[in-house]
């Protein structure tokens, strides 16, 4: 796998792609997302695995997103995701609200190549009422009536995330962020930014191999030092609380957000 730029990495994501991204603590490809915004991608169907934060808010605020399939979009301790909230109120994005494990199960169905997985809960919620793609069946394993929800497989066109390291073969080490493995397994294409590209073969490293995504699931890798900034990356660096607070504050208004996106750096100093 030859080294490519972040811009090249995201160049072929088509408008309208169903794109899966992890939670704010599980390896968000922020630098790549900024590149995607700069490219002017449109009509993304964003699937958050299972929630998201600043990344989703930025993509929504810049008009890149048509559909948000999510269990929650929040800036956590920095407050509401201002652009997400504004877009919902304005009716600018289509919502596919769900609950965390239903999204995970959908992704696992995609990983397993089955059309659905069953999941407990949800019955009686307005989430279920508003998800016409979910089904309720009578559990065929039960002796008497036992309604259970089936969620359809999620097969993202693209999985996009940031990880600590890749090797030159395209194997990607993810540490404890196991959802990245599921995402790569389920998605048609997987695009990854990494802090570093290491020598040797991660799959031959006894300690790293168990938490390494094999290259056959990886479409492309680009190096992006501090690529999750202003979010953190487990084992590498903490989130930049000041930068996140600045963003949260700016994103409260259209003007604040526009000014932020025009002025704030796309990435941390490298």
């Amino acid at each position: 796998m030859s080294e490519i730029s972040i811009e090249r990495l995201i160049a072929d994501i088509p408008n309208g792609a169903r794109i899966a991204v992890p939670t704010s603590r599980s390896g968000v490809a922020m630098a790549a997302s900024r590149a995607l915004i700069d490219r002017g991608v449109r009509d993304l169907h964003l699937v958050t695995i299972p929630t998201a934060g600043i990344q989703a808010d930025m993509l929504i605020g810049t008009g890149c997103v048509a559909v948000a399939e999510t269990a929650g979009i929040t800036l956590d301790e920095f407050g509401q995701a201002g652009r997400f909230v504004a877009a919902v109120k304005a009716g600018e994005i289509r919502l596919m609200d769900s609950t965390c494990p239903a999204i995970v199960s959908g992704l696992q169905a995609g990983e397993k190549g089955v059309p659905f997985l069953p999941i407990r809960g949800l019955i009686g919620s307005d989430l279920l009422v508003n998800r016409s793609d979910y089904r309720v069946i009578d559990n065929p394993m039960a002796a008497s009536g036992d309604p259970i929800v089936l969620v359809p497989a999620i097969v993202p066109d693209i999985a996009l995330f940031h990880a600590p390291m890749a090797d030159k073969f395209g194997n990607v080490w993810i540490g404890k962020m196991r959802e990245l493995m599921t995402m790569a397994h389920a998605a048609k294409q997987t695009l990854v930014t990494v802090e570093q590209i290491v020598d040797g073969n991660l799959m031959e490293d006894e300690l790293r191999a168990p938490a390494t995504i094999p290259e056959m699931f990886i479409t492309n890798v680009a190096k992006a030092k501090n690529g999750a900034w202003p979010l953190g990356l487990d084992g590498c660096y903490e989130a930049d609380a000041q930068a996140l607070a600045d963003y949260a504050n700016a994103a409260r208004s259209d003007q604040g957000f526009s000014a932020y996106m025009a002025q704030a750096p796309a990435k941390a100093a490298q």
Partner: protein, 242 residues
């Protein structure tokens, strides 16, 4: 011993956790998190605590589904949920106000509520703003229902509601809250004025006991240091720790 309102709430929640082997705590929950850690300390470390988004206070290592799989199997005894709105049937709304989807107020989303509320035996509702804005007759959007029809798989559900004003229990058969005690400094009248739903109560309700002194000491010491892992700002503000 003097105590802060946060310390009272932690004490109240800790009592609700008695006997629970594994407590999990979601995001943005410093008070429940502190209570869970205090509960663990009181069990001499026998009780397990999983604090989401913490570095060291959890053992989740099997992806985004790990916590939910554990909960589905009954391995999580207690969890905390909140709501932008909570109604008298213990329905919770984490989505927004107005007609879905283009609501006039939008919150973050339902997170794991629509699942965990069904499978965790002891779900404690916690909301530190007890007003008619939050405690409503009927929620605008049911993120997760308080009770389920007969036949629906539901080993879990609401166990109690803790607010800044008082403590309620929840009767799943009646689908109705009952006021257990009023926090010191507050009154039944204040609670009635600020609650949008009907609930059962005694004319002279108990007053919530203050934090037990020895627990308060524990809380301000080892627990404060621990809760600073996921919640440094909270630990600093409340316990002047970290």
């Amino acid at each position: 011993m003097d105590y802060l309102p946060e310390e009272l709430l932690i004490a109240v929640i800790t009592r609700l956790l008695e006997g629970v082997e594994h407590v999990a705590v979601g995001v943005s929950s410093p008070i429940p998190g502190s209570a869970a850690l205090l509960h663990q300390a009181l069990s001499n470390g026998q009780a397990r605590v999983t604090v989401l988004n913490s570095k060291n206070l959890q053992t989740l290592n099997d992806g985004a589904g790990d916590l939910f799989d554990r909960a589905a199997q009954g391995r999580i005894g207690a969890f905390f949920l909140s709501g932008g709105q909570i109604d008298g049937q213990a329905n919770i709304n984490l989505v927004g106000i107005g007609e879905y989807p283009q609501q006039t107020v939008r919150w973050s989303g339902s997170f794991g509520s629509a699942f965990l509320y069904f499978v965790v035996p002891r779900v404690i509702l916690f909301r530190d703003e007890h007003t008619r804005r939050t405690m409503v007759e009927t929620v605008d959007f049911i993120s997760a229902p308080g009770v389920s029809a007969p036949g629906v798989y539901r080993p879990g559900g609401p166990y109690a509601l803790v607010t800044n004003l008082g403590l309620f229990s929840f009767d799943r058969a009646l689908a109705r809250f009952r006021l257990v005690s009023v926090h010191p400094g507050h009154s039944l009248e204040e609670i009635l004025d600020n609650t949008g739903f009907a609930f059962d109560y005694d004319a002279n309700p108990d007053t919530t006991p203050p934090p037990e002194p020895e627990r308060l000491t524990l809380l301000r010491g080892t627990i404060a240091a621990k809760i600073a892992d996921p919640y440094p700002k909270f630990a600093k503000t409340v316990f002047n720790c970290g």
